[in-house]
Symmetry: C2
Subunit: 155 residues, 2 copies
């Protein structure tokens, strides 16, 4: 099943055998309508803006529950903050890569980019999932080159 956008939050929750509460439906709605991964805070903001404020602990625990069920992904961490997104469209062994801009700090989802699975793993290691994080300059910031962190000034 990969047409979540066309399913109601209620049906999605039901199909994951999760209790259907107003709070959870709202959170799911926000995630369904977002083009990018969101932090707990961003979710809280958007809920408040829709006159449907929710306690931050409830958001925390709902996401925790969605995570366990596999409905949602902890997509990436930035400055020690997790970003969440629906797990739809994620392949079995890898989600789409994310791209972070050094200049503006924004992170983009790049569903169209493919990275081959790692090869040459030592015997014994079982690869279940591969996560790829790209860094560089986004189209908006490409014009005026940013400070790219030094890699090795030793000559």
């Amino acid at each position: 099943m990969s047409h979540w956008r066309e399913m109601s939050p209620r049906r999605i929750l039901q199909s994951f055998a999760l209790r259907c509460t107003p709070g959870r439906k709202s959170i799911l709605q926000i995630l369904l309508q977002s083009e990018q991964a969101l932090t707990q805070d961003q979710i809280a903001d958007r809920l408040a803006r829709r006159r449907r404020p929710l306690n931050k602990v409830t958001i925390y625990r709902s996401l925790e529950c969605f995570l366990r069920a596999g409905l949602v992904h902890q997509a990436y961490q930035q400055d020690r903050i997790w970003h969440y997104e629906l797990a739809h469209r994620c392949g079995k062994t890898q989600c789409h890569p994310h791209f972070s801009c050094y200049e503006c700090g924004r992170t983009f989802c790049l569903p169209e980019v493919s990275v081959p699975l790692a090869t040459g793993l030592r015997a014994g290691f079982v690869l279940v999932r591969q996560k790829v994080r790209l860094e560089g300059l986004c189209p908006d910031c490409q014009q005026q080159p940013a400070d790219v962190p030094a890699e090795s000034p030793l000559s």
Copy 2:
């Protein structure tokens, strides 16, 4: 220059134009001798065990300084905690991948594994660095299968 292991901490610091203090030399020594990326806490522990305890803020600021100079990498985050390792052996566009075990939680450096650079980036994006994180079961834990996080129970 990529033979850091054969250089003294003092010479390495000098070549990066960093002030050479006993604290920094000790931290560098720890990193030089470690096979894997270390957290600030792990570095503190090892310093203490060598009768060379250092205030955690000093460790924090030294690593910050090493980072800026490009001597060290923030290799990966686990449970919101950063791990640091020397930047030697890191290629220009990607460091070696890291492998985290679902079962025991340990993280391994896999310098021998190669992952081709992402292709198909939308026009305008400039890729500077690619970070790859692998997840699965390590050789030790492979025997008794762990709880692999569900991906999509929806049928």
